[in-house]
Amino acid sequence: MIKVHLKIKRFNPEKDKKPWWGEYDVEVEPTDRVLDALHEVKWNIDGTLALRRSCAHGVCGSDAMRINGRNRLACHRLIRDEIQNGQITIEPLLGLRVIKDLIVDMEPFFAHYRSIMPYLVNDTDPGPRERLQSPEDRARFDDTTKCILCAACTTSCPSFWARGEYVGPAAIVQAHRFIFDSRDQGAAERLEVLGDSNGVWRCRTVFNCTEACPRGIEVTKAIGEVKQAIASGKVR
């Protein structure tokens, strides 16, 4: 067991006029997750600490937050990898309204997601069996199917911080997943949405999104491919 000093940005809308730093000392294993340390606080020191979490192994996307200044899933980072001089600093995601402690308002994020038609568009009769797709065509969009909608990418993007109307990296990743799916026929409409003033051209290729993605998706590359599709009018 090792001692960790956690510095957590707190805000309770029912009590606080402005955010404050809560400081807590906990004992955890170096191989514990940052989420385990947050649970130590919540379960044994201060039950009012509010955070979202569910799967606890990096697949549900609930617990994205700023850990030592970088967007991470608290259940996907170990103490030994985050501890700096005995301390870990934890804040809510930037760019979305803080509701309570580490919980932010996800509605604007999901509204952007819904705006890019995040579903297969194909009205032709598929027949009684599966549509065929070659392994190469399937591989074309594999990377962007990994997205878990945790918002780590979008809320790491300076363009999104500056302008919340920007659809943001996650919505573009989701659009990419369909635009480059050989079975989909909705690319033109999606590219129109993404080509407008709040679309892909807001991306300044800062690469924060790629660095933030807990699923290892090459987000900036995907955005680049969408830009290219808009510029060339071609998706494949």
């Binding site: 919540k42 379960w43 549900c60 609930s62």
Partner: protein, 590 residues
């Protein structure tokens, strides 16, 4: 003051079963989904390896073989008419998912790719068959995403982050649910003609568990309090390959691709326990074998774990020994099992391509749950009395297709087949039924329970009670059970229930009071744990995942039957017969 809503159909839970039901119900009636999480956080998304259907894309297969494997896997406790529906309709359900856009991996000729999985066989050769349709090792993620996408396309109404705290059932009629909006703390009453429960499992009663923190059995516990029973609760699956100490699941897909179990002597010990299927024997058999090795002193370093080996050179060595011409390399494993390889690297700090992986069995899946008929209608007793307007599907339900032990991939099959079936049936019902009145004070019972927790000035912290519960369940209601251990477990659970009356929480507020919700969830876990231990004590035989050391044999004469347990007014058990079909019970060997 509570807010009131009216719908033809409501679905509680937004995993695979709930979204499938909502999708189909919403095609013809006004439908809403209520979920304590954002839908994409549901634990369906954690399912890895695949969804079985006898498509026969890579080698001959038949749905009847799938059905036999499922019945055999269940140790003959599954109801065979329910299994026939599952395996026959699985084929269309998987095709349906593909048409919705699910990005399955593909065969060279562009069809849905399939792989081997535990317990799934060619019935003629008895060898493993390629039946599990997959999208890398994130098949559940893809199912969840695809169904959520379709719900958005079809404008399904969602109430995200609403915690249901009570089901309005009286005299075997259901009129809706009571929920708390987590963001505001306000109570909402949802009045509905048809209500479906699809809230998944309750694996957080154990410490070593693959389950999400949210899987606390809230709705089954609410039904127990309303005087309804649960079925087959003694049958809980411990998956053989959890990451040591953490319980995070490493899919059976690893063994489908050739991984093997190895003990401290370097032996592939499954050859002794399951000479034909070996490491792809069913999960109950593998989990017991691992602990038998541990008891024999063959655990690694004498501890309570063994290795899962998926180093390519080890896998290939055993392929060769088995006369299997297949060979794998590192690139292939990375492509087929990217997520679980990442789990091992992140959480254990070791590389499974070059090092063996310490694993131990982990609490994984409830075969038991809310009893239903073939149309997902909830049953009030062992005689088959229907609760009007109430439905259940997915892990929370017990129809029963999994019997005493579920086969890998069949959870996802269950979700889509019975979720769809339930959605269609509840819409049919809602179209001809009328809304029944809900009492003015309908929300009071649920609210009273929450206020009692919030206002309790007690001394106990919920977290320490939860830890004690999980520890005792690991010890006495796990892979191996005895009558004495189970009696002791029930006593200790009852003692925890007494201590629970003396809890206190720190957060007295309204908005996102997760302190309050966790404490309430703990109350649900305690009730379900008591019913689980009592059901296990009542079944004095061993079958599937339920292994009694004091009764090590299956006893078809006395126990080829489902248990049905009530909790209101004291624990009570009744039994109902298994519906047999083509397959007579025989000794189960792999």
């Amino acid at each position: 003051m509570a807010q009131y809503h009216q719908f033809d159909a409501i679905v509680v839970g937004a995993g695979g079963a709930g979204l499938m039901a909502a999708l189909y119900a919403s095609r013809s009636v006004n439908t809403a989904v209520i979920s304590k999480l954002y839908p994409t956080r549901s634990h369906t998304g954690a399912a890895q390896g695949g969804i079985s259907a006898a498509l026969g894309n890579l080698e001959p297969d038949k749905w009847e073989w799938h059905a036999y494997d499922t019945v055999k896997g269940s140790d003959f406790l599954a109801d065979q008419d329910a299994v026939d529906i599952l395996c026959r309709e699985a084929i269309d359900a998987v095709i349906d998912l593909e048409h919705m856009g699910l990005p399955f991996d593909r065969t060279p000729d562009g069809k849905i790719s399939q792989r081997r999985f535990g317990g799934h066989t060619n019935n003629e050769t008895k060898k493993p068959v390629m039946r599990a349709c997959h999208a890398a090792d994130r098949t559940g993620h893809m199912i969840l995403q695809t169904l959520y996408q379709q719900c958005i396309k079809n404008n399904v109404k969602f109430f995200d982050e609403f915690q249901v705290i009570d089901v309005l059932v009286e005299n075997n009629v259901c009129n809706g649910v009571v929920a708390v909006c987590l963001a505001t703390g306000e109570t909402h009453v949802f009045q509905a003609k048809a209500t479906m429960i699809a809230t998944g499992g309750f694996g957080k009663m154990w410490r070593i568990s693959s389950n999400a923190h949210s899987l606390t059995g809230d709705l089954p516990a609410a039904l127990l309090r309303r005087g309804l029973p649960l079925q087959d609760m003694e049958f809980y699956q411990f998956h053989p390959t959890g990451i040591y100490k953490m319980g995070i699941l490493l899919s059976e897909a690893a063994r489908g691709e050739g991984a093997v179990f190895i003990n401290n002597k370097g032996e592939r010990f499954m050859e002794r326990y399951a000479p034909t299927m070996k490491d792809l024997a069913s999960r109950d058999v593998c989990s017991r074998s691992i602990y038998q090795e541990v008891r024999a002193g063959n655990g690694i370093d004498g501890k309570d774990y063994v290795y899962l080996e998926f180093r390519p050179e080890v896998v290939n060595r055993y392929f060769q020994a088995d006369g299997n011409p297949r060979r794998v390399d590192a690139a292939y494993m990375e492509k087929r099992l990217p997520d679980i390889i990442d789990f091992v690297r992140v959480y254990m700090g070791i590389d499974p391509i070059t090092q063996p992986v310490p694993i131990q069995p982990t609490a994984h899946y409830a075969m038991g749950g809310i009893p239903t008929d073939l149309d997902t209608r909830v049953l009030a007793d062992e005689k088959g009395t229907i609760v009007e307007g109430l439905y259940a599907a997915g892990e929370v339900a017990c129809v029963s297709v999994h019997g005493a032990n579920r086969l890998g991939t069949n959870s996802l099959v269950d979700l889509v087949v019975y979720g769809k079936r339930g959605g269609i049936r509840m819409a049919e019902y809602a179209k001809q039924a009328s809304l029944r009145p809900v009492k003015q004070d309908a929300h009071k019972m649920g609210e009273a329970v929450l206020s009692a927790i919030r206002d309790n000035p007690g001394r106990e912290r919920p977290s320490s009670l939860r830890r004690d519960l999980q520890t005792l369940m690991d010890q006495d209601v796990g892979v191996f059970r005895t009558g004495a251990g189970l009696e002791d477990a029930i006593d200790r659970i009852k003692a925890l229930q007494e201590r629970y009356k003396d809890i206190h929480i720190d957060d007295k507020g309204l908005q996102f009071n997760t302190d309050l919700m966790e404490a309430w969830e703990l109350g649900c876990l305690l009730d379900l744990a008591e019913v689980t231990a009592f059901s296990a004590l009542s079944r004095t035989e061993s079958r599937g995942a339920h292994y009694r050391e004091d009764f090590p044999n299956r006893d078809d004469q006395n126990f080829l039957k489902h248990s049905v347990v009530w909790k209101n007014g004291g624990l009570r058990v009744a039994y109902k017969p298994v519906r047999l079909g083509r397959y007579a019970p025989t000794e189960r060997k792999y």
